[in-house]
Amino acid sequence: MLTLSHVRKSFGTHAVLKDISLTVEAGSVCCIIGPSGSGKSTVLRCINRLVAIDSGEVVVDGVSVTDPSVKDVDLRRRVGMVFQQFNLFPHMSALDNVTLAPRKVRGLAAGDAEALARRLLAKVGLAEKAASFPAQLSGGQQQRVAIARALAMEPKVMLFDEATSALDPEITGEVLAVMKALAAERTTMVCVTHEMGFAREVADQVIFMDDGVIVEEATPAALFGAPQMERTKAFLSKVL
């Protein structure tokens, strides 16, 4: 479903990604963990071309991200993204946040887009908040609207960039519950996360990144239970 091959990216002289290769199977959940500044978020941004890579290749659902003839919109329709800061559109209701891209990018009729949006808002537990504006919603509710908004493009892959990091600890659970439900439906997901419990429980594959490289990649049981690399052990001993 998703492959990165020998991806490199520098910002100026700073090499952020140094030869990243990664495969995510359809219907599986890949969690990327690691310290701040290790390049985790940049990996996600390479997948939907928010960041242009310097070399290597990224293929999503058979579409090459590095092929200049592939239009941004054709790629981004396949890839949903959820941000740490939610980034809801503050001048629109929750419903309009969710219907906007289906109407304007996918070209759905207004009625169809609304039906889809109401179904997705119900799915994230916010059917009754459709008319609320982002400022009237809690952080957890905003993030759930943002998940519905990304799902409304019916993407092949969902990217979560520290989706719970901006939330109070007691409300991360409501967002994680939605993410777990998506995983249970076999949504292909790549999650940059600091929620080790979530990674352990939900991931099929966990990747530990540090300083622009993948240090270790394993099943959650193996990576959390018996990490092979010293760097991984040192990191896990601090966060667990």
Binding site: N48, L50, D72, V73, R76, R77, V79, G80, M81, F83, Q85, N87, L88, F89, P90, H91, L100, A101, K104, V105, R106, A146, R149, A150, M153
Partner: protein, 213 residues
């Protein structure tokens, strides 16, 4: 030849209407210039932006009166005759438009980068994102400074009297010339009139700023 204050009033009212007419026309043009330049500036790469910025800095850097003299007295020598009203409106529009372009560009730039990123991730093109997501938010931030800009245009429109536009100040001066004894009441009227126009505008701008913040 003596004239009473009352007999001056019709001329003052005509002058007031001219002031409003000139200011409104200049404002409409300034908003158009401001939006065109501000939006283009926020879309184009830096190399293209620099010459636009140079023009804007030039327009902002010259005194408004010099610009009016140039348009009214200078341009006719190139065979381009300008009416005094036209030259005044054009000069005010160029001056206020250069300020307006900064208002528009600044408001667009003030919208969080995350909004653009979210729009891009959803598949919106740059223009679509600007029209549907960035501009509607930026408009709210532009409103107070644009209202303030209108007050500045009203104030600055008094300079138009120096190229022969009979706006409020000039109509007062005409009446003072007819009867010097009316100097004090007439100029007091001028003070009161400009204050009465601009103070509510300034209040509205501050009020909007508070409410939209």
């Amino acid at each position: 030849m003596n004239a009473s204050f009352e007999s001056a009033l019709p001329a003052l009212v005509r002058g007031l209407f001219t002031t409003f007419g000139v200011a409104l026309a200049a404002m409409v043009l300034a908003v158009a210039i401001g939006f065109a330049a501000g939006i283009v500036r926020s879309l184009v790469p830096r190399a293209v932006d620099l010459p636009i910025l140079a023009v804007i800095e030039f327009a902002r850097g010259i005194p408004l009166l010099v610009l009016m003299y140039f348009l009214f007295f200078g341009l006719p020598q190139l065979g381009w005759r300008t009416s005094s009203d036209g030259a005044a409106i054009a000069a005010l529009a160029i001056y206020a438009g250069s300020l307006g372009s900064e208002i528009v560009r600044g408001a667009i730039a003030s919208i969080a980068a995350g909004q653009r990123e979210a729009a891009a991730a959803l598949g919106f093109g740059r223009l679509q994102a600007l029209r549907l997501i960035v501009l509607p938010q930026a408009l709210r931030r532009m409103l107070p400074p644009f209202v303030g800009l209108f007050a500045l245009i009203v104030e600055s429109s008094t300079l138009a009297s120096l190229i022969g536009v009979t706006e409020l100040l000039q109509s007062i001066r005409n009446n003072v010339e007819r009867d010097n004894a009316l100097s004090l009441p007439l100029y007091l009227t001028a003070l009161a009139a400009y204050f009465a126009i601009n103070y509510p505008i300034s209040l509205a701008s501050q009020n909007l700023e508070k409410r939209l913040a």
